[in-house]
């Protein structure tokens, strides 16, 4: 079954007023995160599999947004992207288990390991190179450890725990579904050890990564699913999609940054075109599509009303 996640825009826009004419009765009842929470509701109502709340030092903080989204939905998977340096693994696990308990286990984790040195320094983080992966490995090992075992002790380079581990009723809940990405050796090894889903870019060599991951994860007795992360612009017909993207856009397009997207690469076309391209990925083993489509609220409905049925048709055809 295909999982479709919608990336939420958490960068703040300028505040919008109503102007001098309409009587504004919103007062304190509606705040600056309202649009974001309503976008989550739209994804829920439109039947998408979930949303990704990105880590963005210049945007809203992902855990706080994720908690609100989980509280205001019933089915949506909410994947919070975060920097592993944001908290100790024990504290992160504690926050996560509360969210899991109170959301019927719909939280996902996306540890973010990318970003440049200056950005990290501004966050108080001076680790670089392979150490970032080592810390992420320790972070996930310790978080899973306290989650699943008691007593749990851990002694690593970055973290130590002595006789830790959760007690009932914080025990027995599913660990957050872990999404990781990257094509380097360290990234693939980290995914082999910890990822439930490994996300690739649309132009990555899926076959090669799939083989490499299968070999590495088998050594840990694990199985890692594949996902792609990409932008989407789907319209009633190919011509309309191209017109909205810009006339030069082919079905695979690198120009999404010009439309304000964070993910520059993605797909442009009719719903059937895009569904067929998704199906190409699905045939190569991709199960998760983490999608950026803007503006996110109307696009959530569009994806639910238009793309999901087209995908279901493709899937039926493939199974037949």
């Amino acid at each position: 079954m295909t999982e479709l996640l919608l990336r939420l825009p958490t960068r703040h826009g300028p505040p919008t007023g109503l102007g001098p004419v309409p009587r504004d009765v919103r007062a304190d009842h509606y705040g600056p995160l309202e649009r974001l929470f309503q976008t989550g509701r739209a994804a829920e109502t439109a039947g998408l599999g979930g949303v990704l709340v990105p880590h963005d030092p210049l945007g809203e903080e992902s855990w706080t947004v994720a908690a609100g989204l989980l509280r205001h939905s019933r089915h949506l998977r909410v994947v919070a992207e975060f920097h592993p340096g944001f908290a100790t693994p024990v504290y992160a696990a504690k926050m996560a288990v509360t969210l899991q308990r109170f959301s019927a286990q719909r939280l996902g984790w996306r540890p973010a390991l990318d970003g440049d040195a200056a950005e990290h320094a501004a966050q108080g983080d001076f680790l670089s190179g392979p150490d970032r992966y080592r810390r992420a490995d320790e972070f996930l090992t310790a978080a899973k450890g306290v989650w699943t075992r008691r007593p749990f002790s851990f002694e690593g380079r970055f973290y130590r725990v002595l006789e830790g581990g959760f007690d009932a009723p914080l025990t027995g809940w599913a660990f957050p579904r872990v999404y990781l990405s990257g094509t380097g050796e360290e990234a693939l090894e980290l995914s082999a050890r910890h990822a439930d889903v490994h996300l690739l870019g649309p132009a990555d060599d899926i076959k090669a990564v799939r083989a490499e991951l299968a070999g590495r994860s088998a050594r840990w007795g694990r199985d890692v699913e594949l996902g792609v992360e990409l932008s989407v612009l789907a319209r009633d017909d190919t011509a309309e999609a191209r017109a909205d993207a810009g006339s030069d856009a082919g079905p695979h397009w690198e120009g999404f940054a010009g439309l304000g997207h964070t993910l520059p690469s993605g797909l442009v076309g009719s719903y059937d075109d895009v569904a067929a391209l998704f199906d190409d990925y699905a045939r190569r083993g991709v199960r998760t599509f983490s999608v950026e489509a803007l503006p996110a609220l109307p696009e959530a409905y569009r994806l639910g009303e238009r793309l999901l049925p087209a995908l279901a048709e493709q899937e039926q055809a493939r199974v037949r």
Binding site: P57, A67, F82, F86, A122, Q123, F154, G164, G165
Partner: protein
């Protein structure tokens, strides 16, 4: 002068009453007939969770007139940051006093988390900065830093936290944290920095409070001891140039008559295991040691724990949490609270078991009697 009254949200379930120590609200104890376990209906999962009850307590406190509620944090509890973020949008005025140990969070990320929660809640975040009780619980969290160094770390944390929020861009090079060019984005930095309630009874704590706290928060103690503690904090803050407000946490058993209130306590005491009075010394908390010292004498009956009129030190036997609280008629409890206000207390964190019903009772029966 107005005083802020906070209530408490149980992050660890709740009891039906103080008469029997069984957490039958929430999922901390096995489900039996009469358990309030929002999550199970007829024994089957129903899509609800314990947070429904937390939301009910928050709304009860909100409508009863409390300014907000403390959300404590221990190894065995749910997490207050996560719970507050879930409850932000379904309460209106209730302020979320989030208890946390700064050492477990990165100060820059925590600033962004708090500022986003300020935006989600219209500025209803309050900090209860705790620096840890030491002992095995500290190691459970993965923290090996010793007592006074933990306060030094807390100070650095709050310095960086405030710096990236209010002095952008902010550079820092300390023992525990280093930041280059840290800054919240404009929309987050525009949020008000949360009020800081700071706990800790040791000299290291009082020094840290003097530099970073808006409210110096103490457990209830015999009033003379509290007055001395406040004087020490005042003397220290005179040296650092900051003025302080004071806050006190107190359990409350208030009934229409004094007899009814003590009868409630007596029933709980008679069912309790009094050996627990001598237990619980594994940490390095100075506040907990002070509480024990006030209860030095032999304990033959529940009134032996009444160290001053209406001030009872046996609550640790009846439920998890601090030892001291006020027991008496509505009028007596109000008078004791007024005496504390006269000592300089500007804010209270009250609590009563069960939290839902007692929020209404204390809000309706005790708070209106205060004269300030």
């Amino acid at each position: 002068m107005s005083v802020d009254f906070y209530w408490r949200i149980g992050m660890h379930g709740d009891q039906r009453s103080l008469r029997e120590r069984a957490e039958s609200r929430g999922d901390w104890a096995p489900h039996v007939a009469g358990s309030i376990t929002p999550a199970l209906r007829g024994g089957a999962p129903d899509g609800y969770a314990y947070i429904e009850h937390m939301a009910d307590v928050a709304r009860a406190a909100e409508s009863a007139g409390f300014y907000g509620g403390l959300m404590p944090s221990f190894p065995f509890t749910d997490d207050p940051w996560a719970a507050a973020a879930m409850l932000a949008r379904e309460t209106r005025t209730f302020r979320f006093m989030v208890a946390f140990q700064p050492g477990f969070l990165n100060p820059v990320h925590a600033a962004r988390m708090a500022a986003t929660l300020q935006r989600a809640s219209h500025g209803r975040v309050v900090y209860n900065v705790i620096t840890g009780g030491g002992g095995p619980a500290q190691l459970w969290w993965g923290d090996e830093v010793a007592h006074d160094d933990r306060y030094a770390r807390t100070q650095e944390f709050l310095r960086v936290h405030r710096g990236v929020w209010q002095e952008r861009p902010f550079d820092f090079d300390g023992r525990f944290y280093r930041v280059e060019g840290g800054a919240l984005p404009d929309a987050l930095a525009a949020q008000e920095f949360p009020e800081v309630y700071f706990s800790g009874s040791s000299p290291a704590a009082i020094d840290a409070a003097g530099r970073h706290a808006d409210y110096y928060l103490s457990w209830l103690e015999p009033f003379g001891a509290l007055a001395e503690k406040f004087a020490a904090v005042r003397a220290h803050s005179a040296a650092t140039g900051r003025t302080h407000r004071f806050a006190v946490r107190a359990e409350v058993v208030a009934r229409a008559t004094e007899e009814a209130a003590w009868a409630e306590v007596r029933r709980g005491f008679e069912a309790a295991d009094t050996a627990a009075l001598r237990a619980g010394r594994s940490g390095d908390s100075v506040g907990a040691a002070r509480s024990r010292a006030f209860l030095g004498g032999p304990v033959n009956g529940y009134r032996d724990l009444e160290v001053a009129p209406n001030v009872w030190g046996g609550f640790g036997l009846l439920r998890g949490g601090p030892a001291f609280g006020l027991v008496g008629s509505y009028q007596q409890v109000a008078e004791r609270l007024d005496e504390l206000i006269a000592l300089g207390v500007d804010s209270f964190i009250l609590a009563g078991v069960p939290h839902l019903e007692e929020a209404h009772r204390v809000g309706e029966e005790v708070l209106p009697l205060l004269r300030g």
